[in-house]
Subunit: 503 residues, 2 copies
């Protein structure tokens, strides 16, 4: 398409955070709108110098923007990083190369390697609108991606991002399928594995739909927003790291997809597998342990679902050249006492320090995961993984390693405590029959987690525990009274989050 | 949920057109953002006086908004219509009542009446985000809505909007499934039907993915943005009208869905039927004729697809109490000479006036549709519909009625002509073998249609016509040189829009 030099506009900063979506603001009477036929919500391709971005147009009808200016949202500004006084030119974007593949998938066709590559390339380059991304995620939901498509999507996600090379030798990694509040084994597992001399360069995500991701929790204790060079220095020095994956551009298409998966709050087995394994392959992993909690309110709800997902993970992992094992774990109730970034960090630290009162369930699960992961590594005598993990933890070597990793990442901090705390009490006596993970997580989110790092829920009760009327079932932690009240209001209308049976 | 009086903000106008999507802008340091834990792209429920709207939050990081202010996009402003100096309060929106139904449909469950009602109620009230709407449209794409769901969705769309009551007696209506550029029979059919003394209160849409909707074309000749009272006056006086449906709130949920269907450029049989028939039922129609063009580049591409869609229309129409017939028509090539609002209006006027050189195909099709519709009406002798229609047109009664309807709607205008016109010529001699409706429509859209009312394409050639090298195949009409050049650039890279065979 031709570009029109006469339609260039002076770039100014809008000072508006539209999340990751690039938005440009033009005056209704600006020559670009008029001559190019752009209207509100048009997608436009903007070039500033050598950089390009596809952005959504919002049309300014007021008088705070000149007709020869274009204002850029924060995301658009970061994409083109204009110099002072820069000018931008505009054109209609070419239709995304993947538009045909998206349409075909929506109408039930199968995606091949080329389709997946086109889709992930356009996704990573932000050439698809949020509406198109939502259509793609929906078209792949449930069982609508088969094994072959899952492998193709995984390969494509790897292909469009960076791929780390650790120079040969085993590289260990782990992942939890999620849905279990407080199941924050990663910092403990990484510390154990690295303390035993293995390499485990762990990248983690922030929360998508949960009250805390591992990156959110780790960030309470040490910086996690490391770039690739910094991450590499940490791993070379300490053998392991626990960093946020967002700065290292591993599987960037997945990061973009998460932008729509988060508000939709649904994904699919195929996309879950592609998301998880593309990150592992891109991070250079060779041995991967998947922790898969199964329970009626976990992400994986039944044994049948667990088998299906495990099969897909194993088939795809094998196709990607990974030595991968799936550990099915109990997903009926939360792990540890805290739910929320800082509250989970406190549980992690208690286990690593061997503190009295440290949550035994978190310790047990971390040792099981670390043990199973060790068994995948060359050199571990069969059946000896759990014992080796336990020795590393009980000897204090894992705690020392954790502190060393934190220092290498920029320095350790002790988690703080939320200023507003309020109990939710048992309406009557009884015995805990079940715990609704999703609704308990919802309370933690309404309390402010993960945005408010100190916010969340503390719950020490477990299935089978007896309670008396008026006894606290769990405690809401919040950084503002408004958020505390939201969480309490929800808790008061959902009295069966911890459901009681008459003993 | 509790509302927090201390978090009220002074309402100002942002002066930003975000299309129909309500957006509110708050400063990063404003008390609502801080105390309520709102972050960029959060959905917030805003109340101003007694009016409420759910809007997307954009966070202002610059200094052009005070911390105690909230700026409203045009759509948000219209939703709450604040008085001078008004204050707004905010809360987290309740999860949409239809969230569970949406999720279930995405994962393959069947929608029942209650699901559809919840979904359409939330859709009409703008309680679903564009991302959620895109997920819904995708989850219903292709064959994913069965007949029962289609009926339930149609009923729900009718239930959440206005429903016109014409006081008994037959009310005629027609609809074209579309995909055939230039097939602008509606103004002619309405004029014929009304001239014969029947009632035909026609509401039409603007273009969704085409270069012109009937409302766009009609607007070139007369005002169409009438409210319900004005529409009623026109119909009471003249028996018929041709107005834009957007101001009369018939099936408002459908109007919202179109917001995401337009950029996605796909819909489904089920949604198409629900969309079309909900509008007909809401408009009070009792006799409905569906014009269904079938051709390789029309919306309906094969006889099998036509049969399936016709069956769905008939079953749903019957369930909704309509006397409905489907007319399968030739959809292999455009109708008339013009594609684009004003160019199609000129064809319509030529047929109504009986002008020499009026497009014969448009005349023939309009008479076929009007004839078939008349046969549905009580009192028409069987087989006499086409003859009655032809008499009304050839006698000049239809033209007189059309002018009277235009006057009643606010006054007739003669269409203008585009200032920039350029031919696309045949690269070689040959005979027209096929015409790609979609790509020809795309040229018209790149030329500016329907936003630029005079823009589009004029094409007088038809399948079978011989051409010589260098002869114009079609002519691009544009209101700006930029748009003309876009259209020509596309035409030059797609030389088979009119494909030639060696004679």
């Amino acid at each position: 398409m031709t570009e029109h030099a006469h339609t260039r506009l002076r770039v100014v900063r809008a000072g508006i955070d539209t999340y990751q979506q690039p938005v440009v603001y033009m005056h209704r009477d600006c020559p670009v709108c008029r001559s190019e036929g752009f209207a509100a919500l048009t997608r436009v391709q903007m070039r500033v110098g050598t950089r390009e971005v596809i952005a959504t147009l919002n049309v300014v009808t007021g008088d705070h923007l000149a007709v020869d200016e274009v204002a850029l949202s924060d995301a658009a500004w970061q994409a083109v990083t204009p110099e002072a006084g820069a000018y931008a030119t505009f054109q209609h974007p070419e239709p995304a190369a993947s538009a045909g593949a998206l349409r075909a998938k929506v109408f039930g066709a199968r995606l091949d390697d080329a389709d997946c590559l086109a889709l992930m390339r356009d996704t990573a380059a932000n050439r698809l609108s949020d509406i198109e991304l939502a259509a793609f995620v929906t078209a792949c939901a449930g069982e609508r991606l088969d094994h072959g498509e899952t492998i193709a999507l995984t390969r494509a996600m790897v292909a469009v991002g960076e791929r780390l090379d650790w120079g040969g030798g085993p590289v260990l990694d782990k992942h939890c399928v999620g849905g279990l509040p407080g199941n924050r084994t990663t910092p403990i597992v990484v510390a154990i594995i690295a303390a035993l001399g293995h390499r485990i360069p762990k990248t983690s995500s922030r929360a998508i739909t949960s009250p805390a991701g591992t990156a959110d929790t780790m960030e309470v204790m040490a910086p996690v927003a490391l770039d690739l060079a910094a991450m590499r220095r940490v791993v070379e020095r300490e053998g392991g790291c626990i960093v946020w994956g967002g700065n290292v551009r591993l599987s960037p298409a997945d990061d973009v997809l998460i932008r729509v998966e988060r508000p939709l709050d649904f994904d699919s087995d195929g996309q879950l597998v592609a998301s998880v394994l593309s990150k592992k392959v891109a991070a250079g992993a060779s041995q991967v342990l998947i922790d898969m909690p199964v329970g009626p309110t976990a992400k994986v709800r039944s044994d049948a679902a667990a088998q299906a997902l495990a099969a897909r993970l194993t088939v795809t992992g094998s196709a990607m050249g990974l030595n991968l094992a799936v550990l099915h774990t109990d997903g009926r109730q939360p792990v540890g006492m805290g739910i929320g970034p800082a509250l989970e960090a406190r549980d992690v630290l208690a286990v690593l320090r061997g503190a009295p009162g440290a949550p035994a369930d978190l310790r047990t699960r971390a040792l099981a995961v670390a043990g199973a992961l060790l068994e995948l590594a060359p050199g571990t005598p069969p059946g000896q993984g759990p014992a080796l993990a336990t020795q590393a933890l009980d000897s204090g070597r894992a705690w020392a390693k954790f502190l060393a990793i934190c220092e290498a990442q920029g320095g350790f901090s002790e988690p703080g405590e939320a200023p507003f705390q309020a109990p939710v009490v048992a309406p009557r006596a009884g015995r805990i029959a079940a715990i609704d993970n999703r609704r308990l997580a919802k309370v933690a989110k309404l309390a402010g987690a993960p945005g408010a790092a100190l916010a969340g829920v503390v719950c020490t009760l477990r299935i089978g525990d007896p309670v008396v009327a008026g006894q606290p079932l769990y405690t809401v932690h919040a950084q503002s009274p408004g958020e505390r009240d939201y969480a309490l209001a929800y808790a008061q209308t959902h009295t069966d989050i911890l459901s009681l049976e008459t003993p």
